[in-house]
Structure formats: C-alpha cells, structure tokens
C-alpha cells in the first residue's frame, strides 16, 4: 500500500510540473486504508481491539461462545471496503449482525475506545484515526439496542 501511495504522489508531482497545474487536480490521493497503514496495520489494530473487548467483562457479553477469528476477518474486510482498500464486505448488515444482542452504549463506546488505543499504538496519525472513526460512527444506531421482535409462531408447528 505504501508503494502505491508513493507512486501516486510521484505521478501527481510529475503531472503538476508538466501541465503547470497544482497537484490536487491531478493527484490520486492515497485511500484512507493506505493512510491507516494498509492490511498489516488494520489487521493488527482490529485484532487488538477485539481481543481487548473480549477480555473486558464490562464489554464482552455479546461475544460469548462466538468465533472470534471470523469476526476479526469480517471487520477487517468491512474497514477495507469502507476505507477504499478495494475489498468487498461480504458479511451481513450491522443491523442484522447486532439484532437482539442488547449492545449498550457503554459496550459500543468501550469498543471504540479500544480501537482508538490500538490505532495510536500503531502510530496511525490523528487525521486518519479521525476519518476512520467518522466512518464507523454512523453505525451506532444499527449496533446499539437493535430490537427485532421474534417471528410469529407457525400455527402448523
């Protein structure tokens, strides 16, 4: 990812020099995913965030008996998709994933705080951290206290 963003910057500089235009009109800005550090950083950040959340009894009720490596894989895929890393997130919607898990505000923001810590630990710069959090913030209503009533009982059963 880093090589790609350097290459893009070189192309932008060359184009700007040749055409006398400022870089912004010609530059391919590196994606947020690249600026986060790409796959190795995002994978490590997600893994540490979820590990910290699962280890915290105040935050971990929804993870009981759950396949954690699978969750990590899907969260990385989702961030890669949202942050322009070129992935396609193949999991279910946030609403479907969290329906009736009774996720509280405290659990949601507890995870966000673990994410912040992990990003800082991996030296992700402030701008990229904030952009990522801004991408995830709109998910809150689809994660916190999503209630779906049970289906009507089949009268034939």
């Amino acid at each position: 990812m880093k090589a790609a963003s350097k290459h893009a910057a070189l192309v932008a500089a060359a184009a700007g020099a040749l055409c006398g235009l400022h870089g912004r009109a010609w530059a391919t800005s590196p994606s947020l995913y690249a600026r986060l550090g790409g796959e190795p950083v995002v994978t490590a950040v997600v893994s540490e965030t979820i590990d910290a959340t699962v280890a915290d009894p105040r935050l971990n009720q929804s993870y009981r008996n759950t396949d954690i490596p699978r969750i990590k894989r899907l969260v990385v895929e989702q961030i890669c998709d949202l942050a322009g890393g070129g992935c396609h997130y193949g999991g279910d919607s946030m609403r479907e994933v969290h329906a009736n898990h009774h996720i509280t505000q405290r659990e949601f923001f507890g995870l966000v705080e673990n994410l912040r810590r992990a990003l800082r630990r991996h030296h992700v710069n402030l701008r990229a951290r904030n952009e990522l959090l801004a991408l995830l913030a709109p998910m809150a209503p689809d994660v916190i206290n999503v209630v779906t009533p049970p289906p009507p009982k089949d009268p034939a059963s």
Binding site: D67, D92, V97, A99, P151, D154, A156, S157
Partner: protein, 201 residues
Amino acid sequence: MAPRHSTLLLTVATACLASLASAADLIVHVQSAANAPVEDAIVYAVPASPPAPAAGLKYSIDQVNREFVPRINVVQTGTAVRFPNSDNIRHSVYSFSPAKVFTMKLYAGKSADAVVFDKAGLVVLGCNIHDLMVSWLLVVDTPYFARTDHDGTAMFSRLPPGDYTLRTWHEPMTEDQQGAEALHVDAGAGALTHTVHIGTP
C-alpha cells in the same frame, strides 16, 4: 478417537402372552462395557423392506442460549426440520455431512424455511457464528426409532412382526461405528427385551 465397536450381548426374553395383537413391544437396554446404562443413545430398527417415508413429517431443532436444543436428534428420512431460533439473535446453521450439506442463515425476527433431510445418515450441525454450537441428527430409513433415557432404556411400541436390523448410535460414533444386529419379531411375541452393549468413553 479409537474406533469403538459394539459388542453384542443378546438377551432375549420373550413373554408369550395370549395377546391378540401381532405387534410386539420392544424394550432395548443400552449399556456400556461396564454394564452402566447409557443415556442419549439412539436405537432404531430398520425393517428388511424399509417403508417409504411418510409424507409431511416435521421436526424442530431450536437455538436457545447459543446451543442447539435438543443436542441429540433422530428423524425418519424425508422429515422437514425447522430451526425456530428462540434465541432471536442471528445464527448460521450448517452441515458438511454427506447426508446433507447445507448452510442456512437464521435471522433475528424472521422465520426460516424448513430443511428436508432426504438421505439417511449422520448429520452433524454447527453454527458458523458460534463455533461451540453442535448438534447431532441421525436420519434413519425407518419410523421405528427411540432415544434412551437416563436409565439407558429405549421403548418401541407395537413393532410389526418381521426381520429388522437393530442399530445403536451414541455420540461421537461415526456412521460405521454404529452397532448392528439382526432382530426378528415373531407374530404374537408380546414383549421383547434386548440388551445392547456399546463401548462408551
């Protein structure tokens, strides 16, 4: 796990009752090698000419507290099995067993279609999301099946006279490790008792 072969200790006690009924009541005692009763064994009697599955058979395996309930199940081939998802959080039921390969998402708040188990065999069910969830479903070519209770006893009422293969399964046997023995039910046999020994962990 080392294969466990069922050793056959047949105790047949026939009570010749002056019964007008030609069908027999069969009691099977399933015991460990140490003669202890074995709970949750599945015992089933496959007739020499297996009957066609009755249409419209239904069964349910629920999802409660991130577990399958019941954990041990037996149905006749052709049964449609529902997964009601009383948990009401999302699950993703799957099986890789040759008798039925499938994946089905159970969404919160939505009913799912029943799955028809159209091939006899042992089906191990899991959940993609909650990896500790497991359930065993034995699909058998006979309507004559029972699960042993805590006394290790399985009861068959009114088994029609004829030749059967009596089979016994207990977790975690593979299909090949199941016990098998010939069983003959005479017309007017009344009450029959069998004891089957299986090696259990």
